[in-house]
Amino acid sequence: MSFEWPWQYNFPPFFTLQPNVDTRQKQLAAWCSLVLSFCRQSKLFTLDVLEAQESAVFNNNRIHRKLSVEAIQVVFEELRKKGNLEWLDKNKSRCLIMWRRPEEWGKLIHQWVSKNGMVNLVFTLYELSNGDDTEKEGIKYFMFPCYIALYQQNGNASLQNYNFTVKATVR
């Protein structure tokens, strides 16, 4: 299934950071959703900034427009503020893209667990991620945010950490 670009992608001003504050807000919102849906479609969980600059997301060759480095950083910062992005290093060269935020993961896990009657059972996150539900494929990449997500679900989960397996009980 090829990616469907939003209308803004073919609108040249989309690739210029707008000075008008209101216009910019709308522009950034559109960029954020574009980046997230692109990553979700391509199953990308991490992004390297330098590679991203060359990728199709920020480069539309058809209209000969590309988003500048500064603007890309602004978009990333916006994603970070919304909770969809986390920097993996101090130099801000690689980041984690969470097209689903940890809280959303937490809810999803909780639902899945309840649905499958695994409440009050101990299981590993590995088992979780290898279920038949392909949506959960992302979980193994999100170990840490997920711990927090689960733990913060109003104390509905308790976590015990043994080496590399994480056992979680969901109440």
Binding site: P12, P13, Q18, P19, N20, T23, H64
Partner: protein, 382 residues
């Protein structure tokens, strides 16, 4: 040893002497310092050392530079010592006996003993840290070796002081310069008086000198530059002049403004008016001041300053909203426009066209596309 600085050895206002000891030699790390035996003094704020033979030679180090210190017992043929470990050199340190040192500690070698008491007192001072409570007047240390009394300003206070001095200097220079100029003005006034009186005298004694010569005389005066500055004097300098000027502009500019769609850049106005005048040209300053009076004189013109600093004269009847709406229509028709294209379309100058587009963008009707191809404006579809 490179942490030491030259000092005049005098204690500051809040500084008191704690203990002093003769017969002390300084060591730079493990090496003997290139100084003779002297007296070491401990104050509430500093550790000083003065050469016994040459009292002018005096160095010191603030106690705040000391990290810690320890005793080194005497040995065979070796005096007891106190080893003092120091913080790294300060950036703006005053000159001292040593430019640099590979050691970050010094030793005080007590040739005539006294190290026990000294160590005790040093411990006390380092514990109490009295220098922190009563800071001595800046800077520590003062003076450069034997040469005392030069107030050296350190840090931001010093820089500010220097700037203040420079400013005063400049002020003085300027007022001096203008003193001459005011004298010149007086002289010029006198000259005008003299020429007037001569001209009158000539007129009185009509019979002696012909009109022809009077005129010639007046032309000489003119060439010297002392003509009656009619315009300013007739209407007075300052506000009166500007008011009259403003009224004149109101009349002159009406037609051209309507031709150009109600708005003209101030530079265009300047060129237009001066070209029309021919003589008695306006200075830009006078023009701006006159334009500022439009509103108070209830003239149908307005001076307007854009965000970018561009100044225009526009008709009062000129409506901004209309302009922006029409700009939006134009852009939408053509899909997108650059400032140059827009200018050509409306017959405006490029500068004004750009201002209008920027204003429309500010209102949120347009958005911009900035690329290597240039700056284009699109209708704001966001």
């Amino acid at each position: 040893m490179d942490r030491f600085v030259w000092t005049n050895g005098l204690l500051e206002m809040n500084e008191t002497l704690v203990i002093q000891q003769r017969g002390v030699r300084l060591y730079d790390g493990e090496d003997k310092a290139k100084l003779d035996v002297g007296v070491v003094l401990l104050s509430t704020h500093r550790l000083l050392w003065r050469d016994q033979k040459n009292n002018e030679c005096c160095i010191c180090i603030p106690l705040s530079q000391v990290i810690f210190f320890e005793e080194q017992a005497a040995g065979i043929g070796k005096s007891a010592k106190i080893v003092v470990h120091l913080h790294p050199v300060l950036e703006n340190k005053e000159p001292g006996p040593y430019q640099q040192s590979k050691y970050s500690y010094i030793k005080l070698s007590f040739k005539e003993h006294g190290q026990i008491e000294f160590y005790r007192r040093l411990t006390e001072e380092m514990t109490q840290k009295r220098w922190e409570n009563t800071p001595v007047s800046q800077p520590i240390p003062t003076g450069v070796g034997p040469k005392a009394g030069r107030t050296r300003a350190v840090g931001i206070v010093g820089i500010e002081r220097k700037l203040e001095e420079k400013r005063k200097e400049t002020d003085k220079n300027i007022s001096e310069a203008f003193e001459d100029l005011s004298k010149l003005m007086e002289k010029a006034k006198e000259m005008v008086e003299v020429s007037k009186s001569i001209a009158n005298k000539i007129k009185d004694k009509q019979g002696d000198i012909t009109e022809d010569e009077t005129i010639r005389f007046k032309s000489y005066l003119l060439s010297m530059g002392i003509a009656n500055p009619v315009t300013r004097e007739t209407h007075g300098s300052g506000t009166q002049y500007h008011i009259q000027l403003a009224k004149q502009l109101g009349d002159i500019l009406q037609a051209p403004l309507e031709e150009r769609g109600g708005m003209m850049a101030l530079t265009e106005v300047y060129c237009l008016v001066n070209r029309a005048r021919g003589m008695e040209l306006l200075s830009p300053e006078d023009l701006v001041n006159a334009c500022k009076m439009f509103e108070s004189l209830k003239l149908p013109l307005r001076l307007r300053v854009f965000d970018s600093g561009v100044m225009v004269v526009q008709l009062q009847s000129h409506s901004e909203e209309e302009m922006i709406a029409s700009a939006l229509d134009n852009v939408s028709d053509k899909g997108s426009l650059t400032a140059e294209e827009f200018a050509k379309l409306l017959g405006l100058s490029v500068l004004l066209a750009k201002e209008r587009l920027l204003l429309a963008e500010k209102m949120g009707h347009l958005c911009r596309d900035d690329s290597v191809e240039g700056l284009r404006f699109y209708p704001n579809l966001f």
